[in-house]
Symmetry: C2
């Protein structure tokens, strides 16, 4: 991977060109000197976190947009092209549509659980969070020694940095959308 300060250099330069801002303009907006902005864009300096925070706030962009790399514009993922992962003798099926990569820090899955289907999961890692919306059937989540029943149309968000289970507690198939966010 490229050095972080070179990624920062490219992103800041691209932003300034897109907005047609001068170094002077960025300096005024951010409170960081024109010289420093120039040095950052040329990759000649590794600025402190405080300086980058001032730049992000002044330009009203996120911190991470300054250290990310770019992606293709549009991509369609047909279900049949997704490699399904099955558990519980096929009763629990995971479709990883948008696996974790790049710098956006989350994954998007679809999950199908047949009636009686079940999956026990360990921690997904420090500080991880899950966001689930049920689109068909119902789901029982067990986490922190508590049961949560999520019905069609409802959602749940929970810390997934601890063991938890998913179970179809209804009589028809459960289909749900899952986003897993990984700060750690």
């Amino acid at each position: 991977m490229e050095d972080i300060h070179l990624i920062l250099a490219k992103n800041l330069k691209a932003f300034r060109e897109r907005k047609k801002f001068s170094l002077e303009k960025v300096s005024e907006l951010t409170g960081v000197s024109k010289t420093m902005i120039g040095q950052i864009e040329r990759g000649e300096s590794s600025p402190t976190i405080t300086t980058i925070w001032k730049i992000a706030n002044g330009l009203k962009i996120s911190f991470t947009s300054l250290i990310n790399q770019s992606q293709p514009d549009t991509i369609v993922i047909p279900k049949k092209e997704v490699q399904v992962l099955t558990e519980d003798n096929g009763k629990y099926r995971v479709y990883p549509y948008f696996p974790f990569h790049d710098e956006r820090r989350f994954e998007v899955y679809t999950v199908e659980i047949e009636s009686g289907g079940f999956l026990s999961a360990d921690s997904h890692g420090e500080g991880t969070e899950e966001f689930i919306t049920v689109f068909e059937g119902e789901l029982m989540i067990q986490v922190n020694n508590m049961d949560y029943t999520i019905r069609n149309g409802d959602s749940i968000r929970f810390k997934a940095d601890r063991p938890h289970t998913y179970q179809n507690s209804g009589e028809t198939i459960t289909r749900l959308s899952m986003t897993i966010y990984y700060p750690a």
Copy 2:
């Protein structure tokens, strides 16, 4: 909001305590001096982005986990508690389950579109991306002067920093999950 270097101080300290690492240990893992790690944790220094990158990589955690603030563990969102936003005379309904806040940089919605329902959207902002999975019916997305038809079970990801439209091109209701990611 608290100074960024103080947020960093707390997060690094909390991580080290959770792992029961000494300053020496962190120094070995990251290649950053023990003195520096100590100064960062006491909020006595605003380290450069290169130093923080070394820390994040050495400790195998994300950059953003070092500058984020913490959240409650678990929250269930019943559909009836979500304030629905309607467009197109009620034919297009948006349920914002997990709006954008905190530092995770994305929102999670459910959308329902009656047959013939339609919504035209402008850019969601610089660098924004959308991730959509269709759970019922079918969806036509128009972006970059192209049409994409997404059927039940399929997904699409596209740059949402330009105008785009959503339309139910089928004869039954369309229900979908939408995650919008905001790097900028």
